[in-house]
Amino acid sequence: MQGHLLTWATFLPVIGMAVILLIPSGRKDATKIVAAVATGIQLFVTILLFAGFDRSATGMQFVEQYTWIKTFNIQYFMGIDGLSLPLVILTALLSFIGVFASWNTEKSVKGYFALFLLLDAGMMGVFVSLDFFLFYIFWEVMLLPMYFLIGIWGGPRREYAAIKFFLYTFAGSILMLLAMLALYFAVEPHTFNMLTLMQSNYGHTFQIVVFLALFVGFAIKVPIFPFHTWLPLAHVEAPTAVSVILAGVLLKMGTYGLLRISFPILPEGTVWFAVPMAILGVINIIYGAMCAMAQKDIKKLVAYSSINHMGIVLLGMAAMTKAGMSGAIFQMFNHGTITAMLFLSVGVIYDRAHHREIDGFGGLGVKMPIYTGIVAIAFFAGLGLPGFSGFISEAMTFIGAFPVYTTLTILATLGIILNAGYFLWAFQRIFLGELNEKYADIPEINGREIFTLAPLAVIVIFLGVYPMPILNLFTHAVDKLINVLNYGASMAMF
């Protein structure tokens, strides 16, 4: 097992799925337990990865490389570095938590957990693949379960949300396919190996064209304005656990793709497009915050806050400084944990009240003190209060971006103020003030729900105080990326 940790991490959920399909459909508890065990072992494997990861090494680790399709030079090539490891851990963690968050699923349990595990495998595969073809396969495989999870187990407008999500991402990913082929044919001998692709030189125009094609593919996933319209819909209609995965992991794939593929392979294209990227990032921040402020539905508010937070990631990346880049990567991880908490909290209250109108509650703090405390952590972390992990990554991002894009960064920080506005306002309307009589005997958060939220709260607070365990992971990866980009910038000058 030692040599194939990444394969295990990726395919354990598939094994779990196969077992679930063999369980008779009446045995609901057995199905859930299998799902929990499969994701649990996967989480354990990623902890092994975290423990065994050599923080001083620069290259890829836990590498597995085999020939898959010889005639087209396609490889089964997996490996992780500091950039992918945090996301690998995040994926495993949120999948594990997601299983417990879906414990009360009633409608065809077997199908739900089978698809959930397939989704898990697809996400994990994306983060560990180093062969572009393999990466693409996982990227697409993940779409199918997501389509069904939203479409079958979602809210009232689930069908529309599912198809819109799918058409958007499918259009983006197939554009990515063309870019991938263009890269493949641009190097001799033809290869999909990302590391080899990074070491090759491409013409200036070629870099720009391919970068743009990839950018649209990734931008839809992030989502970057104006490709964001699928997001609020999908997030709102999806069941809680799926929203957690959507916001917590899927959005990261877009920014991960940019950092893993676009930036190092096409540095000139990146430098050429850096300013527009920063502008788009700021638009995301401000537009996301303003939309969030206008929402009546609390889940929609959280969804728009994701657009805002991903804008911060984009701004940090576009700055191409060490602080900015590290902040961006750290923000990816933090947004994953924080937004997961937010969606889980929304799920808790929705399960009890069966609606999500912010104005439909009031004074819940009296009846649900523990829940209120947890939501307070999530909201404060979400608005970037010092002491929580989100603050550190946002601060790093702005510090990194300020010297490069001064005006834009100032605008972005204004967006952050709006963040505080809508989170606090929503908190006030739901938990403070006079108790809404309708919810006089609303039950307090139960043990299972605390079990899903507590680990995330611990991580958010711990990393807010001592972020080094995660920051240590990617110092070398960031250095390397910045070197490549500096080289790209120098090339673009000529």
């Binding site: 898959w68 399709i69 010889k70 005639t71 087209f72 065809s108 199908g111 693409y136 396969i137 697409e140 495989v141 779409l143 199918l144 389509y147 069904f148 479409g151 079958i152 689930r158 069908e159 599912a162 198809i163 799918f166 058409l167 499918f170 259009a171 197939i174 554009l175 396919l177 063309l178 082929l181 263009a182 493949y184 044919f185």
Partner: protein, 495 residues
């Protein structure tokens, strides 16, 4: 050339001879068997097809021409013959248990299918204009009869009649094109036509007209725009096993003829090569084909969205697929042809599979209306999941063979240089559009609840087995496809 040549040729004609023998045996057996037992001729037909398959696989000869240079035996033809044989085997297996044909005698039915097989064998290996025409007509005429086989059903009759009219006009135009080409070159052998065209001064306009007319015939067989009008009505009206067959096998045969004709007359090389595609003057063949391909994709996909009858929807989808495959013909080089052949191979399984699900649902629940597929996915999960796999394969999503096939088509286009990037983008847009209507079926089956009182009926084990045999390759070819890819690659040798 002596008459001996004909006799010597027979030795290399064994698979076809086995088919001919089987046809005769089926007809005689049908006379002997009682009417209610006539379905037993399926065993004979099946055994004969298997025999032809074995003979084909054992036949290891260098590429050569037979019968005074009218028929070629070469790896290219063999690849397509394998596709036809697999398709026919599945269609016989499906027809064996379908309810649609219960009131009719089966002997003629199976012998017609085998005659069609023979015609397709000849199509894939013709190297003479007359032979191309004859084999194409042999396939067409049997198709007309089979489409109208349910003679008491008005729609079936309508299908046959429309098919005859469109077919007659298209092949007539093609024949006219052939005659112009013969007038220009003085020969009917396609290899010689190439030589003459290279050497002599011909009027480019005349050649363009001739080739366009010939394209009418080929376009009709592969159902590309603007010769597609017959296909929705025929697909809807014909017995579903025949629809399934028409959507894969004659289409593949049409592509075989098209590839061979263009490759030999216009490129003229035993190993295709992009550079020579342009050798014959200023005629923009790739652009013409690219335009046809783009129009075919758009028309097929856009119209498919509006269909309520699943057979009609699949008919338009198969038009769209002809458009995708034509993308490979645009870059008439090794990669393009390889991609086309690989696509046709995968398409065989996924499209037959989709039709088989339609047949099963129509046999057990009596509906071909997409709206009435509501909730079937939860009621009959096995069928629902398999249909989903086929729909996603047809869209071209991993991990199915459909993705790999599309991947190869796109890679051929991208590799051909920036002049066809636009076509690749058109291909993308169309893939996205196509997902919309394929997903509609999935949506009906899974995302919507079944109507009250929908009775779950027991599936037929025979059909389920056949379905499984179709779904396995569809999935397997998406995970590991090296051996098939090598087979297709090695089949790129023309006589």
């Amino acid at each position: 050339m002596t008459t001996q040549d004909n006799l010597l040729s027979l030795h290399f004609f064994l698979p076809e001879l086995i088919i001919i023998g089987t046809i005769l045996v089926v007809i005689i057996a049908d006379l002997i068997l009682k009417r209610q037992h006539s379905n037993r001729t399926a065993y004979i037909a099946f055994a004969g097809t298997v025999g032809a398959f074995i003979a084909l696989l054992l036949e290891q000869v260098a590429p050569r021409a037979l019968f005074f240079q009218t028929i070629a035996v070469d790896p290219f033809g063999t690849f397509f013959k394998v596709i036809f044989l697999i398709a026919i085997l599945f269609v016989i297996a499906i027809s064996f248990k379908t309810n649609e044909l219960n009131n009719y005698r089966f002997g003629e039915y199976y012998s017609l299918i085998l005659i069609m097989l023979l015609g397709m064998f000849l199509m894939a290996s013709s190297i003479d204009l007359i032979m191309i025409y004859l084999s194409l007509e042999l396939v067409s005429i049997t198709s007309y009869i089979l489409a109208g086989y349910q003679k008491n059903r008005a729609r079936s009759n309508e299908a046959a009649l429309k098919y005859v009219i469109y077919g007659g006009v298209s092949t007539g135009i093609m024949l006219y094109g052939f005659s112009i080409l013969f007038g220009l070159t003085g020969t009917t052998k396609i290899a010689e036509i190439h030589q003459v065209l290279l050497a002599s001064n011909y009027s480019p306009l005349t050649l363009v007209v001739a080739i366009l007319f010939i394209l009418a015939g080929f376009g009709y067989k592969i159902a590309s725009v603007p010769f597609h009008f017959w296909s929705p009505d025929v697909y809807e009206g014909a017995p579903t096993p025949i629809t399934a067959l028409l959507s894969v096998a004659p289409k593949a045969a049409g592509f075989a003829v098209l590839i061979r004709f263009f490759n030999v007359t216009l490129v003229g090389s035993t190993t295709p090569n992009m550079g020579q595609w342009f050798a014959l003057g200023s005629l923009p063949w790739p652009q013409i084909l690219a335009a046809i391909s783009a129009m075919t994709m758009f028309l097929g996909n856009l119209v498919a969205i509006r269909q309520d009858n699943i057979k009609r929807m699949l008919a338009y989808s198969s038009i769209a697929h002809a458009g995708y495959i034509l993308m490979g013909a645009v870059v008439l080089n090794q990669q393009g042809l390889f991609a086309m052949m690989y696509y046709l191979f995968v398409y065989l399984f996924m499209n037959l599979g989709a039709f088989l699900v339609v047949i099963i649902i129509s046999n057990t629940y009596g509906t071909e209306n997409i709206e009435e597929y509501r909730g079937l996915g939860f009621k009959v999960p096995y069928l629902g999941v398999i249909m989903t796999i086929f729909m996603f394969a047809l869209t071209g999503l991993p991990p199915t063979g459909g993705f790999v096939a599309k991947f190869y088509l796109f890679s051929a286009l991208i590799n051909a240089g920036s002049q066809f990037y636009w076509l690749a983008v058109v291909g993308i847009i169309n893939s996205v559009i196509s997902f919309y209507y394929y997903a509609r079926i999935v949506k009906m089956m899974f995302l919507q609840d079944a109507p009250e009182g929908l009775e779950v009926k027991k599936g037929h084990p025979w059909m389920t087995t056949v379905l499984t045999l179709l779904v396995i390759p569809t999935l397997l070819l998406g995970v590991y496809w090296e051996s098939i890819a090598t087979f297709a690659q090695n089949s790129l040798k023309f006589f």
